[in-house]
Symmetry: C2
Subunit: 302 residues, 2 copies
Amino acid sequence: MDEFGLIKQYFDWGQGIGDDCALLSIDSDKQLATTVDTLIAGVHFPTNTSAEDIAYKALAVNLSDLAAMGASPLYFTLALTLPSIDQHWLEGFSDSLKTLAKAYNIALVGGDTTKGALSITINATGVMKKNQALLRSGAQAGDSIFISNTLGDAALAWQQIQNQQIPSSASVKQLNRPEPQIKLGQSLLTVAHSCIDVSDGLEQDLSHILAQSNLGASIDVEALPLSNEVAQYIAQTKDWCIALAGGDDYELCFTVPESKINHIQSIKKDLDIKLTKIGTITKKTGLKIQGLQKDCQSYQHF
Amino acid sequence: MDEFGLIKQYFDWGQGIGDDCALLSIDSDKQLATTVDTLIAGVHFPTNTSAEDIAYKALAVNLSDLAAMGASPLYFTLALTLPSIDQHWLEGFSDSLKTLAKAYNIALVGGDTTKGALSITINATGVMKKNQALLRSGAQAGDSIFISNTLGDAALAWQQIQNQQIPSSASVKQLNRPEPQIKLGQSLLTVAHSCIDVSDGLEQDLSHILAQSNLGASIDVEALPLSNEVAQYIAQTKDWCIALAGGDDYELCFTVPESKINHIQSIKKDLDIKLTKIGTITKKTGLKIQGLQKDCQSYQHF
């Protein structure tokens, strides 16, 4: 099959596909937010992951970056590298991608397919009013630090799979189908001082906020929001690092000034989401983790 | 080395890097043109290609897509997959990418680095006045079909390398360092009816214009613009397919109405570029290639 047949058969639901570039217009009071993420078989997902889960995650991790800025999804491009044409695989991939794109109202506007080891690069672009974006650099001393939902579930599932244990459906869902917190990001636009999505682990990602805001933080491991499964695992192993440095959470970590704390309750109620205060931004630089006995090794890309 | 160290060391010349997304503003009378292309070692370039040439080509092929729409380069993202951290390689890659980006005034605004088989995906975005873009669908019967510079040089170099022959410097330059025809694309904005960049070979790419314009064309192999080297190769082998279907030319193929033909002379002079008429758009569909004895096999992505 040639590339054009492949695109026609599996990706003709994209908009603007069929020229050298896709064309797009933007209102002048708006700003674009653009991000790119690559998923590689065996690195970012187990090699036997289904096509549906791979497609979902490849788009979801990019949506998560848009969420962390408070952007509304607008369009994305897909660069898909495949070892061969497997029609069954492509059908599953395309259907799943389309379903998620529809759910978050983001248009596929272009792509490239190449032959090689399985790899998916998505470049997602969102839009927001000018000067509203949630930046990593906006934290202020005294801000409360919050985390959405729970931490460590995806890392626990990944660890169990590698140890040939059977992970729970809930933790596998966290690993393969993380929910991009787009609505939460948008709700935080006038509430949070800073925000990041937790992809490499809380410790590393919170440290980016601290470095760019030139501040420190104190957090308490006992305050970390955990699922029963992860709580049980930590109770048995004392391995807090699964929640602090496991990565692949795709929850939002954000900081809120005292004057806006009352908004958190209404956001929790409106979005039916768990939001937990885990610590405070401090003038003194460095990240102090109370209750942690042993340092964690952060996820390293190389 | 972690990803953040790598970005800091080699890619800190990018703008807006250091948050979940890059932020960008666009005037409301403008339109974005976005495109994505992946290069894979051994598929799109010989595995022993230098880091400098790989970086150049990865950005140049995307600039070529912008050129084909008549867009002005604006920004790009880089997804770089590497088997390991080779500081010497990364330095060469980064320097070369930066030099080309500067020459075409395009900003690196974001990226992702991952571990895996060498692969580079660039998503480039350009800008132009609304409703001005050069589309594949705009050709009209009677238009003259033009090609910039010469065809077949890159394909000949690739073939010679595979046959362990030594290609000429000029043809290797065409293979590794194709010049994106950005200025030509912009000059054609009010002159050409349709345009495409020749990446998969003239026959296949011109067919996209014909399909999208619902028209046909008649071209003459004797009119194809060739370098001395390719002309000599064809004289010896009668292999016109090197120029018609070799691919990797990154020249612009465009169609011009009779009323605008006089503009071509001044563009040639202003840009000091070779522009050759190779045939005519016809009402009758299908691509008729005069002087071709044997059909060519087009480049297949899989």
